[in-house]
């Protein structure tokens, strides 16, 4: 089975800034993203997920190598403005390349 190389951008942030992240996905990744509720703790205290104000999300999008830099720059601008998040990039192998904006050859 043929697999295609992609990158997964994974972000953990407060649920309150979800709309910002969705906007980035819509602008640079043709709108594809997945969100799941998350909880945890760190430098900034406990995010127990019990109340709206202390709920985190894990935000994931599979992106092409060529779009990656623009997405990371958009995230970096947010971080420089003070928005708290953990962001990292993973290598992934995907099925169905056309799902990610590339037509099958």
């Amino acid at each position: 089975m043929e697999l295609y190389a992609k990158k997964v951008v994974h972000i953990v942030a407060s649920a309150d800034i979800e709309s910002r992240l969705v906007k980035i996905a819509q602008e640079y990744n043709r709108g594809g993203y997945t969100i799941y509720p998350a909880r945890g703790g760190g430098d900034l205290g406990v995010q127990s997920g019990m109340l709206d104000v202390d709920s985190n999300i894990a935000f994931m999008m599979v992106v092409s190598e060529k779009d990656l830099d623009q997405i990371l720059q958009a995230l970096d601008r947010m971080i420089k403005r003070g928005y708290q998040m953990i962001a990292y990039v993973l290598d992934a192998q995907v099925l169905r390349r056309e799902k990610f904006g590339v037509k099958p050859s």
Binding site: D16, I17, R20, V46, M50, L51, D52, V53, R81
Partner: protein, 333 residues
Amino acid sequence: MFDFSGLLIPAVLFFMLGFLASVIRSDLKFPEGMSKGLTIYLLVGIGLFGGIELAKVDLSEAIGSVVAAIALGFITPLIAYGILTMVGKVGRMDASAIAAHYGSVSAATFLTAVAFLEARHVNFESHTVIMLAIMESPAIIVGLFLASMSRRMLGLNGQSDDKHNSEGTFGHLLRDAFTNGGVVLLFGSMLIGMIATSNSLDKIMPFFSKQGIFMGVLSLFLLEMGMEAAKRIHEFRKIGFFLVGFGMVMPLVGAVIGLITGHYFLGLSVGGTTLVAVLAASASYIAVPPAMRMAVPEANPSLYLTLAIGVTFPFNVIIGIPLYYQAATWLFG
């Protein structure tokens, strides 16, 4: 003298149980999403109650309360900002965000005060519910103003400098402040309570009224809030002695302003004056945190969340409410 019988109501006792459960590291835990569901229920319940009561009174009587609520929402954050920056030398961005929380209100603290008054058979004016709904938002405007002023003083770039940040414009943030889910639920339920026919309301009120299951649900919610408060004790060392002290002194400052407003300006009863003091003393954990996280990202969220949920909420529930009630009775001689 401090009257400890104020603590012997189920809502407060359940709060203490939740706190204790967390301190002794019990594995007690609410199911995912339950507290969020209870919050929706409580906001709808208090909104309906306020609406039904408001339908019975002449609205012109409530105008004074509306004006007082807006004034309190604007004044208390300015005082909080002054104390934080001048006395505590807290960073201006953190001070702006924290100040906004103290200008807004905590619905759960208000409801605990209602439970406290009802246990003593003390009546209160229904206008105070409309004050609760109104006071959620004005402090956000003050917080945004203080943050923008602080940014200029610190030479930081404003929101508008970021072309990728159209959601950060003042208008957009204001819209967020007034369309916050909690605010919409409170006002919406109040309107439904006002315009729905009394026969049709009778059908749903067993589910929402204080004669029905409302106070039981409040007790469950406070059980969770006790656990949430206790989880934040570990943060006290990080946020520092001054801020923990501020989380207990600021409610007292707010309560004094609230007592004066309720008694002298609005001419409310002992119950009504107590509730205005509680409103002015409490700190928001519904509408303000998301607004500040969006609009003042430079501020550290753990400071305002630890203060609102970990310090001020327990302080008000256990010490504040009986104290403000006592002070209100003194005002009435």
